[in-house]
């Protein structure tokens, strides 16, 4: 199943089953969505429930909050996470706080879906991953979907949830054809053990999952049997699954596309420090994007983010340096 079809199916099923589900965003309606996630929905559910908005991200999220208060279940699409900076106040100061500061009186069932990450030469203002900006906010649930199965189940869960969910997708995944599994007892907060292994735990999420899988094949040639874990949920973080793996492997690497400094990996490392310090044979290795805005030129762009080759090199170097 195409990744984007899995998302489409999740929305479609929810809209079909529950009249209160609506979607809103730039070009989500007649255009079918920038990445075609909402294709076909407007003809099925009409323009009152599939809402083409003006370019006003603050209002897209603010309007969604108001709809949620009124009893709808809005799914707001921000065309890319880069533009969500304009909606930050509504997301952090409102969606995340209204319930708490009203002593539990307000209920905000909403989803904000946003693609992000480095696509192909979209340059500095269109290539960010702002996982940290959201996963550091109390009151939000932050999920990432690296694959069709999680995209479908995770998004469905998010739509049905009565709390605000930030649902992060990756631009390069939309057209990918992926394996799809129906899951009965789906738990959005569980990390996925993508591949078991004995020697090393590699944590990752979103598009980097695929780079890590590539890298692992290469690592195998060096006799390294890596366990790969896809985090899925960034807030809350499934530290239990992570800790269990580290107990076994004694070594951990996190691979993320976001800038290294202050990226998602920092919090993961901090929780590992707290939970697994005595299990570690070496410091956790962060492999992440460089600390610069993303440049347009393809060579520089690739140099700014992890690639399978670089992942392998950095792991080998780190192993050598730490004698492990």
């Amino acid at each position: 199943m195409l990744y984007r079809s899995a998302l489409n199916r999740a929305i479609d099923e929810c809209m079909g089953a529950d009249e209160s589900v609506v979607i809103l965003g730039e070009d989500v309606g007649r255009y079918g969505g920038s990445y075609r996630v909402s294709e076909g929905l407007i003809s099925k559910y009409g323009e009152k429930r599939v809402i083409d908005t003006p370019i006003a991200e603050l209002s897209i999220v603010g309007n969604a909050i108001g709809m949620a208060i009124a009893g709808l279940r809005p799914i707001a699409e921000i065309m890319t996470v880069n533009f969500s900076l304009l909606a930050m106040d509504q997301i952090i100061n409102h969606a995340a706080k209204l319930r708490y500061m009203s002593g539990g009186k307000m209920t905000i069932p909403m989803v904000v879906r946003m693609p992000g990450g480095v696509s192909r030469q979209l340059a500095a203002q269109h290539s960010e991953s702002y996982e940290t900006l959201y996963s550091s906010v109390p009151g939000l649930i932050v999920l990432t979907a690296s694959n069709a199965t999680y995209a479908y189940h995770g998004l469905k869960w998010a739509i049905k949830s009565n709390d605000p969910v930030i649902f992060l997708e990756h631009e390069l995944l939309y057209p990918m054809d992926m394996e799809f599994k129906e899951i009965q007892d789906f738990d959005p907060f569980r990390a996925e053990i993508v591949k078991e292994g004995r020697d090393l735990t590699i944590l990752t999420y979103l598009k980097m999952r695929y780079d890590v899988i590539e890298a692992q094949k290469e690592l195998k040639k060096f006799g390294i049997d890596a366990e790969i874990i896809d985090l899925n949920s960034l807030r809350p973080l499934d530290i239990e699954t992570i800790a269990k793996s580290i107990k076994k492997t004694k070594k951990c690497v996190i691979v993320e596309e976001d800038h290294k400094t202050g990226g998602m990996g920092a919090e993961v490392v901090a929780q590992i420090m707290e939970e697994c310090f005595y299990d570690l044979d070496a410091p956790v290795l962060r492999i992440a994007g460089e600390d610069v805005p993303i440049p347009y030129n393809r060579k520089l762009e690739l140099a700014s983010i992890p690639t399978p080759d670089k992942i392998v090199d950095k792991i080998l170097k780190w192993k050598a340096e730490n004698g492990i």
Partner: protein, 323 residues
């Protein structure tokens, strides 16, 4: 104006005024803290709007005690909230700036200037979809009328003909900044009149506010889209308890104090022979009683338990599943 209406208006305005004077006192005593924004002088707006706009949803900013009381919120639980007590309307977690009561369709108390406006617009969208005629009421200050969130809101509400009343409470100042320094218009209707029908009313006259809102809300109820009302008014106090309000002249203050909404309503009602002085004394006594009761309730209520710190972040379903 009739006797019943005079009673309601006077009682609520007086209740608001005395409530806030008491709150001020208890702020000084340390029972209340944080930001406390008093509405004193502006009661005609809070009471006139809420009496006229008596159905539908209400979204407001942080200067909202009187609006909440006029909407029907029990003074006890408002005062308890100010005292930070467990019995407060937001369980002591919100305080003065965050009074919420979905049972009254009161989603008020936003402390981000203009931050509630896109939310109100979204609610109006939903109400239209749901076929609810009453629509949404959103009040904000002159300062808010310069924010992107305000402009996006009138633009969207107008484009989509949403059932929402934008009520601009123009008290000329945003903290210490006069509207004329930072806006091309002192008359805020100028910002909206291309977008929707606009109205102005005297924010020191509760009847005028009431009548204007009553008239304007017909447009909404008839599905004709948004409206915009501006009321010029004045706060007698500083912006909040931490502001002495020294940037305003005595003369300016006097002009408005002479138009005091409570005193003037009283005078007019007596002139019209609708009621007599004694009648007001009785209402005053009732107000005093209710306020004292509210303070007593607040003072004697328990504080929240420490455990509550971790409650109310998520709904029960999520609280249960989130590790």
């Amino acid at each position: 104006m009739n006797r019943a209406r005079v009673e309601k208006f006077y009682y609520l305005m007086k209740l608001g005024r005395e409530f806030e004077l008491k709150a001020k006192e208890h702020y000084m005593l340390g029972d209340i803290a944080g930001f406390l924004h008093l509405d004193i002088g502006q009661e005609a707006v809070s009471v006139g709007t809420m009496q006229a706009f008596d159905k539908g949803d209400v979204f407001t900013h942080y200067r909202e005690h009187v609006l909440a009381l006029a909407r029907g919120m029990d003074p006890k639980i408002v005062m308890a909230e100010l005292f930070g007590k467990k019995t407060g309307v937001s369980k002591g977690k919100g305080g003065s700036m965050h009074l919420f009561d979905p049972k009254l369709d009161f989603y008020g108390g936003d402390a981000i200037v203009a931050g509630h406006l896109p939310i109100a617009v979204g609610c109006a969208y939903a109400r239209k979809l749901q076929g609810e005629k009453a629509g949404v009421f959103a009040i904000f200050g002159d300062g808010a009328s310069n924010a992107g969130a305000f402009f996006e809101s009138i633009n969207i509400a107008s484009a989509w003909k949403l059932p929402i009343m934008f009520f601009a409470e123009n008290n000329y100042y945003a903290i210490g900044t006069h509207i004329s320094w930072v806006s091309p218009f002192v008359d805020l209707v100028e910002k909206a009149k291309n977008y929707m029908p606009t109205f102005t009313c005297d924010g020191m006259d509760v009847c005028d506010v009431y009548n204007t809102v009553t008239q304007a809300k017909e447009i909404i109820e008839n599905g004709l889209g948004p409206v915009f009302i501006e009321a010029k008014t004045y706060r007698y106090e500083g912006h909040s308890m931490s502001d002495a309000g020294k940037y305003r002249s005595e003369e300016e203050m006097e002009i408005f104090k002479r138009k005091d909404p409570i005193e003037n309503l009283k005078k007019k009602a007596i002139e019209l022979n609708l009621v007599d002085e004694k009648y007001f004394r009785e209402l005053d006594a009732k107000v005093e009683y209710v306020i004292n009761e509210a303070v007593e309730f607040a003072a004697s209520s328990p504080e929240p338990e420490i455990e509550e710190l971790w409650e109310d972040l998520f709904c029960k379903e999520c609280e249960n599943v989130i590790p």
